[in-house]
Amino acid sequence: MSEPRLVDSYTAPKEVLQEFAEMAEEEDIDPFAETAKQRQIAARQSDYHNRRFNRQAHDSADAFKAVVEGEDVEGGYKDAMRLQRLEKEEERVRRAIEEKERQEREEGQQKMDLDKTPPRAEIEEAQKELAAMQGTKRKRRWDIAEPESEKENKEVKGEWSQEALEGAAPKKRRSRWDATPADVAAETPSGKRSRWDQAPAAAPEVPMTPIIMNAPGLMHEDKHNRYLTDEELDAILPSAGYAIVTPPPGYAPLIRPPKLSGPSVTEVGGFQIQESSDAAAAAAAAGLAPELPTEIPGVGNLAFFKPEDAQYFAKILKEEDETELSVDEMKERKIMRLLLKIKNGTPPVRKTALRQITDKARDFGAGPLFDKILPLLMERTLEDQERHLLVKVIDRVLYKLDDLVRPYVHKILVVIEPLLIDEDYYARVEGREIISNLSKAAGLAHMISTMRPDIDHADEYVRNTTARAFSVVASALGIPSLLPFLKAVCRSKKSWQARHTGIRIVQQIAIMMGCAVLPHLRNLVECIAHGLQDEQTKVRTMTALALAALAEASAPYGIESFDNVLKPLWVGIRLHRGKSLAAFLKAIGFILPLMDPEYVSYYIKEVTIILIREFQTSDEEMKKIVLKVVQQCAATEGVTAQYIKQDILPDFFKAFWVRRMALDRRNYRQVVETTVELAQKAGVAEIVGRIVNELKDEAEPYRKMVMETITKVVASLGASDIDERLEVRLVDGIIYAFQEQTTEDQVMLDGFGTVVNALGIRVKPYLTQIVSTILWRLNNKSAKVRQQAADLTTRLAVVIKQCGEDQLLSKLGLVLFEQLGEEYPDTLGSIIAAEGAIANVVGMTQMNPPVKDLLPRMTPILRNRHEKVQEATINLIGRIADRGAEFVPAREWMRICFELLDLLKAHKKGIRRAAVNSFGYIAKSLGPQDVLQVLLTNLRVQERQSRVCSTVAIAIVAETCGPFTCIPAILNEYRTAELNVRTGCLKALSFVFEYVGPQSAYYADSVVTMLEDALTDRDLVHRQTASTIVKHLALGVAGLGCEDSMLHLMNLVWPNCFETSPHVIGAVMEAIEAMRVTLGPGVLLSYVLQGLFHPARKVREVYWRIYNSLYLGAEDALVPFYPDLGELSEGQNVYDRQPLQMFI
């Protein structure tokens, strides 16, 4: 056969299947590995955020406790401060080295250029020096806690660094990849040693030891972060596909090699596990990585288990003989199990574990708990969910531990502070909550003494997070309690970092607490005011930013608090340049709106000079701030239109209304906003006149920017200000811009619509031109262009009618009618909407094309599945049914009714509502019988939504045509044996009574028998819906004399009060409430009294609930109905209500 063979099914190409098969063969492949990586917080965050791993936590001894117990505290504030100073010094020296190194490198570079290979002697010398320096470095670390060595450090420093620097330059050239252990060994015995090494040889043991968290080079005994040995690496990494790469020639490890036995480490109370016992377990766990356990002895099933978890939970992974363990060890394992359950367990497991750990928190003690929790939080592979759960554990545990937490405050802070600068809002909130609870538990004094050392920490990251943490403390314990401390810090003479951080704390307080700073505004401003004249630029900048934050938070009040910073600020803007000028301007911008209108103009004049100068700036940040300040100036009351027009506008337009500004999204927005704000003062004509010519600019983004500005200005201020000449230019420009657009944009459309609508009747001379543009574009090749033209018609229809151009409208209507065959749904939707808009303004009788032609054309379009088309169509049809139903034959309407049923299934509520309303309109013009028949038949369909909408439509028909037309049909339909139909009828009836209100009185008796049947049905839903009907009925007939039938219904509803299904009981309770309105609370009370003191609790509970709602609904009205219980009086308690027994 010559014809190609037919294939009976299609499948994926062979190569693809092959690829998957290969992938399946490679065992360890994990298709989710990439996403797992993204879930990790550390992998996602910036380097700045990850600086948290470099932080170092120390014990913060509980000074209060020590005082009570009368012993000396170790590792307290003093040591922390000393440590911090040392660290700072270290940082400084390191910087100096780097600086020198860089210089030398530059010099060396030059040398290298001359002579490519450095002489051997130089290299050897360098190696020796380097070795010496390596030793030095380590030594220095371990001397951290030694006071003498600190002194020494200072003394020898110059020399030392000199020496180091000599070694530093050639350092790069040496390969030390696997030489490190040798270096370590060589370290002590010396060879050629630097003098520095000899000094602190006999370092006395210092009890206080810092726990250094997770910085790999710092914590030798921390097995989680120790260096992996070659064996371990072999176990972890697959053997195939990996090669051991030789390090690049210039590589020298930055961090000291591992393995140094420090006796001090074992004393630490932190998370330490004996190396011998679990190194094997960890290795095994690492080796077993592919088949990680999901079931762990004593823990049960887990949701997941990561290889990293094996390190932390090694102890509970293997079976142990529990009898050999000490109490502490048992406790430790218990905590680990609970934590593992919380971190990795399924929700129910997690919940119980969380409750247990909370309940037992005080038994476990702060130490063991935090030693386990905190390292987990510092794990690099931590994911959001795990972090959230662990933070939750800390939160719960904090509550229980209260002041026991004191020694761990700093450790907790180190872990929690990074949350304060997380990108995730909820993480920030969690962090704030923990710190605020922590400060409540530990107390202000302890918090301050713990965080004080970090205030002038060498690392900016630490200072930043500490400032935020302090602001949380301030909000938790109140600003006044922190004020004296803040004052002291902001005036610190010792270091500018402290001042900087202090001022930043104030800024953060303002940002976080908002207008709650108002009562303390003066104090806060006084605290930081002097910072404006600080000799450090950074401090000045931060002060200005803090003032800006304070002013923003306190707006529009509190100008008097800023009195004494006004002068420095305004003087400052003349003195400073660059970043600090930007900050000063920002502060001024926020203070201006607080000022009195009389004074503000003077200050604005002062600042305008600088602003205008800075208009020229090339700095983006400065540009943004300048624009913002101009906007704020323009918004103040005190500035006059005259001033803006004369002094600001010329330069402003010269600097900012240039094409370049339209290219950057943020600049674009800023310029538009500022110009609109200026227009509020300067007027429409002034602004529009300046930019209207730019509508014909050749750059499209720029035209768009002009258009958007004009739109906003005209929308807020109207077009009455625009004179005839400007009007010509404006309309001309708009038409040009609209025609020339290459990307069909909402901006152009909105602009056109807004301007034309604002001009109103003045647009008449241009209409012919505009409409011919539209007509032209309606026939464009591009669907987008056609859609936009139709949308424009929708917006212009009203104005065209106002101008009396009915001719144009009917022409547009006809063209649109011809376009109804449009195949792009979006465009079709717009076209129908435009047709609808024209029909709206013209009216059904004048509509061209005539309605009798238009509607039959719409019927098939109703089947279109596109939402926009559906909505536009149903709106148009509904409008026709409402206004001009008589122009269309009844048979057409019936056809539409059937089509409309499909729309009841639409996802969009607007469509369903429009469809349901259309049923009402159609029923009104045709009479209800036929429509009702369609709807009642629709109750038999499967989809619930369709049935529900039918019931609503029935109710609407009943409302528009009178209930008497529908209720008999509904009652008749109720006799069908089908469940869905009966429920549908009940629902329809409930809507009917809801809509008709008091008219229900006429129909109450006729539905009673049906309700009897429904309320005694076995089916819950029947009783529920019937209760809803009773509710609406009872509320409708209240006060209309239907008490007898209502009482009967009440008797049928009442036994349902013991139902437990939430919807049913809800409906029943509402019915009973409604009965209170109709029958009066007295009758209801007599029902309720039967069970208030029933021997069965379940009965009492239900009756009391009814009593409570009755009581709250009619407290006063119940008074005469309470039973006379005088005979219950006994002893001192007299229960007679004498006042009610009086007679005249």
């Binding site: 009981i1065 609790r1097 009492r1100 509970e1101 609930r1105 709250l1112 309470y1122 001192q1132």
Partner: protein, 86 residues
């Protein structure tokens, strides 16, 4: 409250109710309930001027005096709480 209802919207309503004085629960004692009734009665009298003047006429007292006495009596309208017997 029965456990089935614990998670429904009605629970919230119930909590809301419990925040008002005068509402009750399954363990309310006779004394507490009646005390609330008496207070309601007294406040109703004070709140309806017609009732107050009716009582004033019946008692032969000034309206202000009646209102004052009713208000005073609200403190412990049924006497001191009975001793707990357990």
């Amino acid at each position: 409250m029965s456990s089935e209802l614990r998670y429904t919207a009605n629970t919230q309503l119930e909590h809301l109710h419990a925040r008002y004085t005068g509402t009750g629960h399954a363990d309310l004692t006779k004394y507490e309930w009646l005390t609330h009734q008496h207070r309601d009665t007294l406040s109703s009298i004070v709140g309806h001027p017609t009732l107050t003047s009716y009582l004033a006429i019946a008692d032969g007292e000034a309206v202000g005096r009646v209102r004052f006495e009713m208000t005073e009596r609200m403190l412990q309208p049924c006497g001191p709480p009975p001793p707990k017997d357990d």
